[in-house]
Symmetry: C2
Subunit: 317 residues, 2 copies
């Protein structure tokens, strides 16, 4: 039995150490991590994947805690991924509050992990896809993905979720922020947290106004809910909206379609990985310098060299 | 002669319409654009590629205008790319000031263009790589790339430049901003613009303090220059620093190494494009549904399917 197979077995048996180790492989984008995700993929497809996004300061982590505890009290097992789009250079953690979150979820049925990648663009959404697949295969009923909703990478990450909750708070100018980051388009549930603060109704109206502009044609009209996560107010309504959205996805056939899309996606990843492997092999090929020179001088088009790179690699397989 | 070849010829003959059309192909990430970039690549490698980045409001566009006019007055032909990382959904232009810029550079020796891509992550840096290659092959002596230095994509774009100028202004809290975005690590020249405003010396000291922390080991210690671009003050010192940095890159062998890296990069792009083409072909292959089912049910690992996808595609070539 390979390392990957035995780890996959541990993960299926819900061993926390196996889960943690697998997530580390995935986060570091190692070959073992890629093999593991492909191995686990057929076992996944059951968890409700919930994205929770919003600017810093809206009380996102507190809300995530409340939702996790509420789902846990229904008997669910919950995975939480705090996705941290570190700068590729400075590597600083943006989600400084994740330590706080870890304290509150020490129960056996809750697994919390923060994910960061410093690599290339797209690395974060790939790592998140892998981590979600792992937690899903490990039998977690819901997987919560928490991100700071700021950039393109977070939007890509949120597209992995079945249901995305966009959290805002009064008085942060988030109505404008939301348009900029394209966050409105990815939200299926809107939450105005800190609803006991001044201006909460204004924020609700601002969101409603923007939603009405663009989404009349949809079957699912995103609810706009008020919460005070600090005092656990409104949590149940968010949970109900999530259950409604899950039911909507299943009845409309979208749930199955998302799973089919993921299957396509993992084949795509495997083909792309094959190409990267071919490139790695090419760089240590005896012909590399000649290929390089041919392309630099224009003797051959890079596309011709590419076909030769692929052909040589395939001869090995 | 193919469309690509005749367009490439027009670009070499510095025809503005051919240049504009080629840039549109590249921006839209079409097959023709990819073919064009590979065709032009051997003709490039001569232009000094200069990145200019900084937060909105620091006077970046004004500085770009000043630099372009100063280089133009030395007899250079100048290409300017204003890179606009639109939100993938809302597609709004961030560089609202680019119209203003176009007014001032109507001379035949200056070509200005804004670039935006709405596609996947990494699309922006690929389009910029293509656009720089095109302008370089068209004989522009310097290519200026202007970005809002905020996210990961801009950092990737800036890595295409030989020399990156990081622009800041007093009183915007940019010293902190710089660390967050990892901008310090990509700058080879720092400019404090609006140096007639209060706090300019403080900003200079803040930059110097941060540079001294991390970069003692480098051969090139980034100069920190003060400008008032509005009144064309300090432009010449920036031009001199750019020339010094170019000379430094050439003498240290880094200029040649960057060209070699670009050659590797274009082979990589060609291999990746080959893989994407294989995937497109796979999706209309009679076996696609079976492959999909095999992966979904776990009958076969996605890696095995990937090898088959590649093999079938290669049989065609």
């Amino acid at each position: 039995m390979t390392d990957v197979d035995s780890l996959a077995q541990g993960i299926q048996h819900q061993q926390k150490r196996a889960i943690a180790r697998g997530l580390s492989w995935i986060e570091r984008d190692q070959q073992l991590g890629k093999d593991l995700v492909r191995t686990l993929f057929p076992l996944a497809g059951h968890a409700h994947v919930i994205g929770i996004t919003g600017a810093p300061g809206v009380g996102k982590s507190t809300l995530v805690n409340r939702l996790a505890l509420a789902l846990r009290s229904q008997g669910q097992r919950i995975g939480i991924l705090a996705v941290d789009p570190s700068s590729p250079f400075s590597g600083g953690a943006i989600l400084g509050d994740r330590i706080r979150m870890q304290d509150s979820v020490m129960d056996e049925g809750v697994f919390m992990r923060s994910l960061a990648t410093r690599g290339h663009l797209g690395g974060l959404s790939r790592a998140t896809f892998g981590a979600v697949t792992l937690l899903d295969a490990a039998g977690f009923d819901s997987v919560l993905i928490e991100t700071v909703g700021a950039g393109q990478s977070e939007v890509e990450v949120m597209q992995l979720a079945h249901s995305t909750v966009v959290v805002q708070a009064p008085g942060l100018g988030d109505d404008i922020q939301a348009i900029k980051a394209g966050i409105l388009e990815i939200g299926q549930i809107f939450v105005v947290n800190k609803a006991d603060h001044e201006g909460a109704d204004h924020t609700v109206r601002a969101i409603r106004g923007m939603l009405t502009l663009g989404l009349e044609h949809l079957d699912w009209f995103p609810p706009i809910l008020k919460t005070v996560a600090e005092r656990d107010e409104g949590t149940d309504a968010v949970i109900r909206a999530l259950q409604d959205h899950r039911a909507y996805l299943q009845e409309s056939g979208q749930w199955a379609r998302m799973r089919a899309d993921q299957t396509t996606h993992i084949i795509e990843l495997a083909v792309r990985d094959w190409a990267e492997e071919a490139l790695r092999a090419a760089r240590s090929d005896a012909n590399w310098d000649k290929w390089h020179e041919d392309v630099l001088t224009g003797r051959r088009d890079a596309a011709h060299v590419a076909t030769e790179v692929v052909r040589r690699r395939l001869a090995w397989d």
